[in-house]
Amino acid sequence: MEWKDLQAALAEQSYIASDELVVAIQLALSLERPLLLEGSAGVGKTELARALSQTRSTKLIRLQCYEGLDAAQSIYEWNYQRQLISIRAAADDGISREQIEKHVFSKDFLLERPLLMSITQKRSPVLLIDEIDRADEEFEAFLLEILSDYQVSIPELGTIDSVTKPIVILTSNGTRDLSDALRRRCLYSYVEYPDRTTEIEILKVRQPTIDLLLASQIIDFVQKLRKEDLEKTPGIAEMLDFSAALIGLGVNDLSHDPEILQSAMTTLLKTKTDQWNITTEVAQRIAGQAA
């Protein structure tokens, strides 16, 4: 039962993962395939990569994608300012051209960006390619190439082969459809909001001192709130903020003080409309059901 060990190891790092997700990670590890995680914002996709890197005590290398991300920012770039200075200095010292050239195109002048960095580590790191759907389609095509060969060719230096294969985790919020080619290369898992038991577990791990009654009230409240007609559904991070706020305010029972509950709700509701819609009465109704 290898995956159960992994689940336990993740739990040690305060990450409670569902069985389905753990099996997917286990497969990705044993098949050495990238894992594509999709799901709403705030379900813990990025956090998973962090926890995974800690369980394996390796480095977490993160590439945050955005529109216009290109090879220079994701693979490597020459440190051209340093090269210029070096050339200037060398010219004054009267060093021959060949020597200068050899010098300025050495690894000292190479700025490693996440993708190159991830294949040159001694111990295979966790490479997190965050929000891949934000990057352009060209970048996706380019990423495919690296993910299949795990090598990078630099014209001045030659091909750099991978020392170790990184554990690749891609996340997507689905702002656009990813290409079938990329999907096919990856294992896929959709991360849902956790169920009640799991979420209570998460809360207990993150707030060990929390009162059990309050914990279950908070989770019922947040889970009911997620079913309301909201613009931005609160994720796990919001739930944790909410519970921290309540603990900070010294609350022991959710339905106790409507005003304090309402002020703590600022950690859950992130748009004006949502704050407008969830009035004190609505919050009390939900809290009443949760109690």
Binding site: V23, L31, L84, R184, Y188
Partner: protein
């Protein structure tokens, strides 16, 4: 659910069943190749095969590629391995048995006695279950039966019309190309010099900039998201609009298309099909309920809550093709349009009735949505649509 399918003794062992399972998945539109089957066999070699749940969990990440597939996988798995098919077989009318048998021929152990009842000795997996499951979910392969009572869209659209629509779509696509952007990017022919890159490149020629590198404003096309009303009142116009949708899609693969009547269906994948006939066939199956009433507010609300969150941003142009006759209250519609507008997109409403003499947008839903529209225009014929490009350029 705990029953496990029994396979005929004459089948070729576990690998053949896995191959059978994959063709079952492929038949249900999951995109899987040969290498996936190979990987699946590798995976199965490493896990505890006697536990169906572990098998299910291990095959899932490999087989599915998006949320929709992820949700359907459970049913597909059950219908093949967990023997949930047999009982439902009775429900299937005998009419298409022959054609369905052809489709499922890949499963070698399929019994020849198709009319046999559920009391049969062998419980083979069958794909008709999946067909039934799909039918419940409104999946396209499934609605063969149900759609007979509805109109077939292929009767509406001829190839000539699709060709004409193509020209219009190209013009509109060009008109919507967004040329405003402050950031300059590398390009072969540019309006400005990229000094940083030019100097960088000059290093290889000893500091002399032989090669000049240019940059220019990138060409960022607007993304069209089309929502087409196919309710009864739009019957006459649907023909043009559907041809137009299909042409828009062919012209620019980033276009996103939806149909709505009382429900909203995403038809992007169906329209992507290169084969026009087949794509129209898929469309008509999807437009189950085509020609019925219309709930614009409900549909647009559903759109703004689900798909719009993923696909609509400030570069999108949401194009609503509808006559604005709604059988529901308008609150939903106004709320949905407000939400859409917040995403920064442009909203265009093309109303076929506007072309009529003395038309005034007095229907409740039309009147209420006017303030949210960037363009409200007539569209009865392809010519009307073609004339839109000038106005679209101004947006």
């Amino acid at each position: 659910m705990s029953r496990i399918s029994k396979f005929a003794a004459r089948d070729n062992g576990p690998s053949a069943r896995i191959v059978g399972f994959f063709s079952h998945l492929r038949f249900n539109n999951l995109k899987l190749g040969v290498s996936e089957v190979e990987t699946a066999l590798t995976i199965l070699g490493r896990i505890n095969l006697s536990d169906p749940f572990e098998v299910r969990r291990s095959l899932k990440p490999l087989c599915v590629g998006n949320l929709d597939e992820s949700r359907r996988f459970e049913d597909l798995f059950d219908s093949y391995w967990m023997d949930t098919g047999r009982v439902k077989r009775k429900v299937i009318p005998n009419g298409n048995v022959a054609s369905e048998e052809k489709k499922v021929s890949e499963i070698g152990d399929k019994a020849s006695d198709n009319s046999e009842s559920s009391s049969g000795a062998q419980n083979e997996p069958d794909e008709e279950t999946a067909i039934l499951n799909d039918q419940r979910e409104g999946e396209l392969v499934a609605v063969e039966e149900a759609s007979k009572m509805h109109k077939d869209l292929r009767e509406f659209v001829t190839n000539q019309e699709i060709d004409d629509a193509m020209e219009v779509a190209i013009r509109i696509g060009k008109a919507l190309r967004d040329k405003r952007s402050r950031r300059l990017v590398n390009s072969k022919k540019g309006q400005a010099l990229d000094f940083r890159k030019t100097i960088r490149r000059s290093l290889s020629t000893g500091g002399d900039p032989f090669k000049l590198i240019n940059k220019s404003k990138p060409d960022r096309p607007k993304r069209i998201v089309a929502l087409c009303d196919v309710s009864g009142s739009m019957n006459v116009y649907s023909k043009i609009f559907l041809a137009f949708l299909s042409a828009l899609m062919r012209n620019d693969k980033n276009t996103d298309a939806y149909l709505f009547h009382t429900e909203l269906v995403r038809v992007t994948d169906a329209l992507k099909d290169e084969n026009t006939g087949r794509s129209m066939e898929k469309l008509s199956l999807l437009a189950n309920g085509f020609g019925g009433g219309s709930r614009i507010g409900h549909s647009i609300k559903k759109f703004s809550k689900t798909y719009a969150r993923r696909f609509v941003n400030s570069r999108s142009v949401v194009m609503i093709l509808s006559d604005g006759y709604d059988s529901n209250n308008v609150n939903d519609l106004v709320k949905a349009l407000t939400n859409l507008k917040k995403r920064g997109c442009k909203i265009i409403w093309l109303n076929p009735l506007k072309g009529w003499k003395d038309y005034a947008p007095v229907t409740a839903s039309m009147a209420a949505s006017l303030p949210y529209l960037d363009l409200f225009s007539a569209a009865n014929t392809l010519n009307d649509l073609a004339a839109l490009d000038e106005e679209l350029e101004k947006l």
